[in-house]
């Protein structure tokens, strides 16, 4: 557990007075960060099951909601409004959900750019709203005092963190690869290739 705590120490202030204790074990992140990584983890699992993220960015209504969730964070994050642990967890959950809902499809589209065809069918949003309602209900009962729950929460947080790391890494590697290939195959100062690129 100390390895996980060490890992999260780079990402969170780990204020113990603002961390959840589950069955006598303290989560290695503060309440808001717990919400963030849990939200990311739960959303990532949802997306994996749903598989919608491979097709396209989410429908407009979901994007707008996610942007609203992202914009709401400063209000809670900068303690302009800090009504307590449940609200801290909630603000993290919806923020994490919004990040993964944008990050995962975007990373998928960018990495599969060449093989993607122009399909843009508006998928059903019913399952998302059910999932979002579930996410909003988590602060009402979180945390359950059980060691199993502690392990599950920790696992989901790690999944959420790894999801973000994976998405960013994939896109970064892709960008580096393209730049490298472009430089090697076309040459750094290839005016013809540059003009072709700009035409495209």
């Amino acid at each position: 557990m100390s390895v996980i705590a060490y890992l999260f120490s780079f990402l969170c202030s780990q204020d113990a007075s603002r961390s959840f204790a589950i069955a006598g074990h303290l989560l290695p992140v503060c309440q808001r960060c717990a919400g963030l990584y849990l939200g990311m983890g739960v959303t990532f699992v949802y997306l994996l099951l749903k598989r919608d993220y491979r097709k396209d960015l989410p429908p407009r209504s979901i994007v707008y909601l996610n942007v609203a969730c992202l914009l709401a964070m400063p209000i809670f994050g900068f303690h302009l409004l800090d009504p307590g642990p449940a609200w801290r967890l909630w603000s993290g959950l919806v923020y994490g959900n919004a990040i993964v809902f944008l990050l995962a499809p975007a990373a998928s589209i960018i990495s599969n750019e060449s093989g993607r065809t122009a399909c843009h069918a508006e998928p059903s949003t019913t399952s998302f709203w059910i999932f979002f309602a579930f996410l909003n209900g988590i602060p009402l009962w979180f945390p359950a005092q059980s060691v199993w729950f502690y392990c599950a929460a920790l696992l989901l947080m790690l999944v959420g963190l790894l999801c973000a790391v994976f998405c960013v890494s994939v896109v970064t590697v892709l960008v580096i690869k393209r730049l490298f290939m472009s430089a090697v195959l076309k040459g750094v100062n290839n005016e013809y290739a540059r003009s072709q690129d700009s035409r495209v």
């Binding site: 202030s13 303290l26 960015l57 642990p85 990050l103 960018i110 750019e113 993607r116």
Partner: protein
Amino acid sequence: MNTQEVKTVGCRKAWIAFVAASSCLLIYVMACVMSPPGWSPDSSKIAILVTPAGEGENPKEFAIFVYDIATGAHTLLDEVKADGVLSAPAWSPDGKWIAYYKVEPTPSEQVSPSSEPNATASIGEQPQKTPEDTTPSTSAEELFSEENQMLPPFVFELAEERVKDKNDVETFDVKLVIATPDGKDKETLQVMKWVGGDDERQSMVLMKPTWSPDCKRLFYVRAIGEGDSFYIASIDIATGTTYAHLPGSVVAPVVSPDGKWVASYLEDGTLVASGTNGSVCKYFKLDLEPVDGGPPMLDFTFWSPDSRKILVFDKDSVLHGIDIASGQTELYKDPDANSIAYPVISSTDKKLYYLGGFRTGEEGRPPQTISLKRMDLQTKRTRTIFTFRMPELHNDGGALFSISPNGKVVLARAVMDDAFEKERSVLIFWDGKTQKIVKTDRWLLKPLYGDSNLIFEEKLIGKWRGEDSRITIAKGTQEKTYKLTWVEEDKEHHAAANLVRLKGMTFLGVFIDESLVDPGSHLLPDIFMRVVQTEPKLTLQAIEYNELAEVLEKAAESIRPEDVGTEGISEFERAK
């Protein structure tokens, strides 16, 4: 729009979404890592009640300071003088507030006993109001002024009997105050009547309120009679609604980590646990041998992290974990430590931290070597974190220890002797690597002079020989400072000093620990020496800080020699 264009637009949107999401995540992570925690229970700061050393159990001055361990900066939160009293301070779990009791320095009030005792109130009932409410309030009504009464009726009866037995019941007003750690914001939550006299006022220094874990409620005690008769109440910080919970004889309410229970002891040692909503009250007759004739280690009763057990010590330092659901007791003992003292449940790993090795010390005196130990309450495994040695204390006296909430730092409050063998109150910190001693007496002093009063006299510099001692005065490392070295009984002492001109007289301000470099402290010397003359002999006269303050206050324009008398004068000849 052709296929290629659709692909390009889709990809551009994906890039925008990707950059926006990863930027938001990065900004959040950076903000969280860089923003300091409101209050981390790592004991980076302490709130502490300071009284002047040498005034015994009846100090004439109380002050609460917030001390930053890393920077050494201290901030005054509140102070009272004369017969006023302050209690020990209690940090709120979110670190935003510090709560304490305060008795203003006013004469205690005499009130008449109640003519219509309100002794029939039962659980959940408000005390019955009578038409006599328009008359001045009686002591009984003032005692049980909480809006929501959850106390068992016998507490009312007990208090009423005590009030009735005497013609004049001595009471005093106690304020429940909360203040921000920077001292800028202060609020009196309520003013309440306590029954008692000087003893109860003095015992207040040992008391402190207790916060609920969510910081929404503050639990406090109220004295209802002589001795250890209290009842525990609480106040909702936001609404001001008050609740009277249960009788008890502890000076600090013991609130469970989930905030649902509050525990105390009856005078016969019965442990009481009451739901904070008043729904349930459980009594446990403990089969424990009391410590020094009283209930089991009152100050060291605490809840297990899961709020299921109350942990109590017996006189053999065996920890008894009483399950409040089943009433069953589980024992915890560290066979290697001889004793378990000053225990605390760590806020970081929820393990029990305590000091071991106290049995090797003599009565009332801490032993030379003490260990900070840790016990896992689930596996009962113990581990020594570090061991430290006690420095020499004044008259081999005792010390009051505490362990930081993260279990990493041990703090002792004690009295030590300085180079002039004067008693100095100190805080001693150990973190396993270093020992840090902080003198607190100077915190109570107000500067008697400013930088503009500082002067420098070359004539003072040199070697001087007195009747029993030798003194060397040299130029100090800082501007307008001196470095003093004196030898007494073959022992060499060092100090820093500055020369100051106050209302026509010259004084040498001596800093024993040479701490002129501390911000602001260069105006607060440990002792003053009046420089009577420098030629042909150096004549110095020792004068106490308070004495000089009084003389300065009385002197209109200049201090006359008769104002300071002739006591404590020493002469020194210039040595070759």
